[in-house]
């Protein structure tokens, strides 16, 4: 049985995800999304990945979700339809969810895809050896600037491309530059 903190935040995350998927109001969905992301961040903390957890909150729950909210406000096309809540569809969706969830549980517990010796383990002791998993942001930096230097450069370039792409997409096509 896992500890209480994990259960609480896992339940919170799943509830928030359900809110995201099932709410008819896009703003409510976005709120659910934020909550789910924070829940995932907490799980990162529980896994001792503090740096990633902070990053998750900053980038996702902060920047990305603000963008989403802005666009939702901008488009003001939030309600899916004025009619009653589509219960039938929601029931279908839940059925689909449980079917897939059963698949996931089978995959992780009984299929043997994850070796039981690993899957049943509690996390190993943390070390300070930079070659293994550490909690410090320093080991991120070391790997990013040595082993993963090229991917880092490429992702920087990707960000630049995205920047240019967004600028050109946001231009009004009717007016000429």
């Amino acid at each position: 049985m896992p500890d209480g903190l994990f259960i609480f935040f896992a339940a919170l995350t799943l509830g928030a995800a359900a809110l995201l998927v099932m709410s008819r109001n896009a703003v409510t969905s976005a709120m659910g999304m934020i909550l789910a992301l924070v829940g995932v961040a907490v799980d990162f903390f529980l896994l001792d990945a503090y740096f990633l957890g902070v990053l998750q909150v900053l980038v996702y729950a902060g920047a990305v979700m603000v963008l989403f909210l802005f666009v939702i406000m901008l488009l003001s096309d939030t309600a899916e339809s004025p009619s009653a809540y589509p219960w039938k569809k929601a029931a279908g969706g839940l059925a689909l969810f449980f079917l897939l969830a059963a698949g996931v549980l089978w995959l992780f517990y009984w299929s043997g895809a994850v070796p039981q010796t690993l899957a049943g383990n509690t996390p190993p002791e943390l070390s300070i050896d930079p070659a293994t998993f550490t909690t410090s942001a320093k080991s991120f930096g070391r790997l990013l600037y040595t082993k993963y230097l090229l991917p880092l450069e490429i992702s920087g370039f990707l960000l630049l491309v995205a920047l240019v792409g967004v600028v050109s997409l946001s231009k009004d096509p009717t007016t000429k530059a």
């Binding site: 698949g103 995959l107 299929s111 895809a113």
Partner: protein, 613 residues
Amino acid sequence: MDSIQLLHWILFLPLGAAAFSALCLRRLGGFAAWFSTATAFTIATLALVLLIKTDDTISWHIELAKFGNVSLGFGYLIDANARLMLFVVSFVAAWIHLFSVGYMHEDSARGRFFAGLSIFMFSILGIVIADNLLMTFIFWELVGFSSYMLIAHYFDKDFAAAASKKAFITNRIGDLGFILGIALCLNLYGTLNFAELASVAPLKGAVPIAVGLLLMCGFLGKSAQFPLHVWLTDAMAGPTPVSALIHAATMVAAGVYFMARVSFLLAPEVLQWIAISGAGMAALAGLCALAQTDIKKSLAYSTLAHLGIMGCALGLGHPELAVLHMAMHAFFKATLFLGAGSVIHGCHHEQDMLKMGGLLKKMPLTAATFIAATLSNCALPFFAGWYSKDAIIEAAWHDEKFVVFSFLALAAFATCLYSGRMIRLVFLGTANSEDASHAHESPWTMTLPIAILGLGYSIAAGFGAHYLLPASALQIINEPLHEMAFHLTAPATIVGLVALSFGLLGSLKFYGLLPGRDSLQVFSPRTYHLLENRWMDNVYQWFIDNVVRRVSEFIAFLDLLLINGVAVRWIVGGFTAALGHLTGALFHRGQARGYALWITIGSLLLIWFLLAR
């Protein structure tokens, strides 16, 4: 700079110039003209330096690819023939560039034109210095391409577009034989390198004959030999400097040069055919020149005749005489074309000789050089053409090839006839049209090249060769020159002098009878028509109409029925239509969610596959 580096510069400088002109100078015609001309003169200078500094055989080679035992490479081989050709090409081309500056002054596409001239220089120099058959072939095709591009300079005119296509396609027919010959040669001898091929003694039997015949096909196409000569007269649709450079002085001569270079591969049977057909064409083309009123077309027939003579020299087994005649011909024929260009330019783009006349006084410098070059063309003793042409005629007599000899004699006579006609119609008498009466001398950029090439080289290249040609280029021509000077009683000289006096004087008189009209046409219209008619074109037309078209219509029908109908429409089309119908109903609904569902199903299948392994 050593000689290999010099050769690198000579070869790649024009390529660079062409690229620069084509990419950067399309709108700056005037600058492109002078830039290209400066490049051409630089190349000529470099070539001169190379010729003066060295006189042994230069060879250099790098291997580019190796397949089994077959090595393909890029290399240079400079022997005596190549030396002379290098000098002639670069020198004549430089002056023709200068001439073009004046002649193309009002053209709107000068950037393209001069880029074309430069790429042509690159290609022809590549042929001259190539040391293996494959490299020759590549540059050979490049020459074909640049010729196509330059003939089609006025591509908005139908006749120019058609002429360029005709030249290109006719050359392709020859080149097909050429590349087959290369393949066969590779198969037979195992190498394409000239030096290695020369060291392998020419084999006996049917296959070596086939190699020679196939290689000859390339020569037939490029040098406009019978039966692929039909494109050369049409190629006059290009600008006059192009006609002078490509279709008189250098490109068509490349075929002769190439044949001389691979002469050791040619079996006696092949040589015999080249000799007979060359001599026959020389005589025939000379006569046909009488029935052309367009000054450039008349000159084109004259070129055909001289190419026939060169081919004949090759066939008689005297490649060095062929190359010598090619060099001399390059000088005087370039002069003739440039003179014609100057006349055309002076007469406001009138090309009909019957509408000219009396230009001797209005364009004295052009007239003097043109007449000098014509006399060289007629082989007046001690003029450039005399040394080479009469040497070939004498060689035919000496080798006791009397059929060839009589054809050549007829060709010499015909040459004098059309030369006299040309002088009489264009320069003597009175002006026969408004344009001719207002003719004016051309600017210095045009007259200077004519003067240098005409007065300098057409007259004196023979006896003054030691002063005018670089010493190392003279290795091959020294001997025939000296022989000629002491053989004045030889039959060839007699024939030449008789032809000259009767032909030239006779036609000068004959064509003076009726001003503004062609005397032959008036007195014997049937003869004129016989010569004017383009028999080979008619044969080709008949062949295409009756054979090629029938066959291709049948094949087209088969294609329509079997490939298009049964295979494509029924089998492939039916299957894909059925499949498309099925998938369209299942997958292609235009709903993003539908696609997402199929992606999900696909992923699940993939996971199942991975787990079930």
